[in-house]
Symmetry: C2
Subunit: 422 residues, 2 copies
């Protein structure tokens, strides 16, 4: 009872009763005809929705439109999404094109335009090829299905430089055999830093939940998952997480029933962390995933500053790439985070990661004790930094706040890969 | 009259009358016997001093000692400096060793210990090989000279991963044939971001100047030079700029004579900018120097935020490396700086750099006008980004404040080079 169990094989959104999806190819990149690049998520039952969006001041046209749609609407039916072109930095034409995607999808699905969200991801600064997009939307609406094949297609249609599809499904087993399902898909890869990453994630559930509570629970889940990862410290113009709840299960999630609300909230955190880890471990040309856990900071803000300064330092990330047990760069980075630290109180350990975002570690090795290097542990430390996943555990010994960031190394291949978009 | 002229051939500190220097080899790295690694700067005439130090909360022992020495003392005679070992994150032993370097140098130079500054640069987390250091100090005091050979030796002795020595001399020609000389040396290379960079710079002058005015003028010159460059966004534990004024010229710089004070101040800015540019253009494995000029920001802080976010973005720096005319990453980066911006008011130009830190550009090309890309200029833009030096000029069109940052590209070689210190 009250178990939350991940599906062993997830089919993403189509695991959730009442949702149909489709992923089609409409040649948005104008050079890869067969590449899936447009998708639709649809629920005939009207949904409540929640969303979180990039905090970048340069927001793509579809992001602005999503925010307006979410604020203005009461019930929602669909998300239309394309990859290959972000429709960002595209001026007035971009706004017109995003609205056209919205109205076309609405018309073909026989729903109100205000119930359709629009998302785009890909190259910045180029207007959308609208003829291709129109063909794509028609084909996608035709193909809408709750079968696994289209479930697979849409996970592929949203990818850009990702090398793998990203999806997860979690079931919450409540009393009397009642079950809530949450299914989700995501894309990531580059420009991955918080608020949000260059990422899209779409979440569907058959729970029945009121909009403002849904928003609150989603925001909190996103903060401890998608907003706690970094690949390259860059924040995108298009980051969006959208969640739809169609109420198909008949189970109500509300503030009155704390048990169900807590279970739903925990399940959403687990689902989002699972997807966030899928994103960071498929970061562009990375070779290692490193979790930076900062504890006992004076404030949450300080804990996050230290974690991000360490997790985004080019020198620290280069040493992770080289499996170099390097305390100098670590100390250098955390001293310039702007957070309150006292070097003489610092303890740092490296450890083996047991499970992403977990605080259970194994094979812990002391690196810095009271601000001074532990020279004798270097052999053990060498073994840890050679792993593909490890933990850097930083105890500031000043207060009670913590932050858990999942980062990666920086590789020469990342730079070569990103040297040109031509 | 009132001309400020750079020496065509600089010999650094020894160009300044009354100063002697030496650079010797004492095998601090314990594998490169002949590599020069310890230096002393000495003035028999007591000097006024000024200094600026890293804002990193993890400060090396010699940095703490320099700050104490500067605060406690009234007159100063010497700087002793070693490379190969930063004496940082070395606990109590580090403090003892730094003080021993100070007292040994003072004894052999027959001056008060409180008149000697100590600086170290190199690997972090390893205690100094004090026997070698002692031998080095003895040899350096023996070798002190105002000849060019030792002038050259000390510029080499302070280098770490630098590929070139860094020095500059400027003469201020005043009325009646009076001349003030300022000579300086520096080292840089990695961990180069402000406040300060992993850098040391030593400045000597024969002006006669009172300590608090000297400090004020130095601080201002450092802000618009050494604190306005970035290679990798990392800030070191050891950054130090120290300036000594022995008054040997008999020319007084004071608040009463505005003409002389202004000339001295401008000359110091020019000298520091010259050295800062030498540091950034010798950044570890860089291939391009890019000046990011942000104008018309609402505040100075905003202008600096935008410049640093653009100049430290891994994605933007990778595109510079690839000579890719990429507005998407630029817009993405500047939207997430935290500064107030209005995308629709933004104008961005690329241009050819005429002279570092100057605001005269040539061959200006519009990239973004009122927030939208200028597609027609791509051929011209292609030519600019292929250069080894260019300007990114960002007009926020909101206020009146500006910031000028000199940055570099990010190369695969930087990552490979920094993957290990073993």
């Amino acid at each position: 009872m009250n178990d939350k169990i991940f599906n062993e094989v997830s089919n993403g959104i189509v695991d959730v009763p009442g949702f149909k999806v489709a992923g089609v190819a409409c040649d948005i990149r104008k050079k890869k005809k067969d590449r899936l690049d447009l998708g639709i998520i649809f629920s005939k039952i009207p949904c409540q929705a929640a969303g979180t969006f990039t905090e970048n001041k340069v927001k793509a046209a579809p992001v602005e439109l999503c925010m307006q749609t979410l604020n203005a609407g009461n019930s929602f039916h669909a998300i239309v999404v394309n990859s290959g072109n972000a429709n960002a930095v595209t001026g007035l034409q971009g706004v017109i094109d995003a609205k056209l995607m919205q109205s076309l999808t609405a018309e073909l699905c026989s729903v109100d335009p205000g119930s359709v969200f629009v998302c785009s991801t890909g190259k910045i600064g180029i207007t959308l090829p609208m003829e291709n997009i129109k063909n794509g939307i028609s084909a996608a609406v035709e193909a809408l299905s709750s079968e696994n094949q289209q479930g697979e297609n849409i996970t592929k249609a949203i990818l850009t430089t990702d090398t793998r599809t990203k999806k997860a499904t979690i079931k919450i087993n409540l009393e009397e055999g009642k079950v809530i399902t949450i299914g989700a898909i995501a894309k990531g890869a580059g420009m991955i830093q918080p608020n949000m990453a260059t990422m899209l994630s779409f979440i569907a559930t058959d729970a029945q939940i009121e909009g403002s509570l849904f928003q609150e629970i989603l925001k909190s889940a996103v903060d401890s998952s998608f907003n706690s990862i970094t690949v390259d410290g860059d924040m995108s113009t298009n980051d969006t997480v959208l969640a739809l709840a169609n109420g198909n299960s008949g189970i109500e999630v509300n503030r009155a029933n704390e048990v169900i609300a807590k279970n739903f909230s925990q399940a959403l955190v687990q689902l989002c962390q699972d997807l966030a880890y899928q994103i960071v471990s498929d970061g562009e040309k990375i070779s290692k995933v490193v979790e930076v856990v900062v504890v006992n900071a004076l404030s949450k803000v300080d804990a996050e500053k230290v974690a991000r300064t360490v997790g985004n330092s080019s020198l620290v990330k280069s040493s992770w790439y080289g499996a170099d047990p390097n305390w100098g760069r670590l100390m250098g980075a955390l001293g310039c985070s702007g957070a309150e630290i006292k070097p003489e109180k610092l303890n740092i350990q490296y450890a083996e990661s047991v499970k992403p975002f977990s605080e259970n570690f194994s094979n812990t090795v002391d690196i810095i004790k009271n601000g001074e290097p532990c020279y004798t542990n270097e052999t053990e430390w060498d073994k840890l930094v050679a792993l593909e996943r490890f933990i850097v555990f930083i105890d500031l010994n000043l207060g009670k706040e913590k932050f858990h960031l999942i980062s990666t190394d920086l590789t020469p291949e990342y730079v070569s890969y990103n040297k040109s978009e031509k």
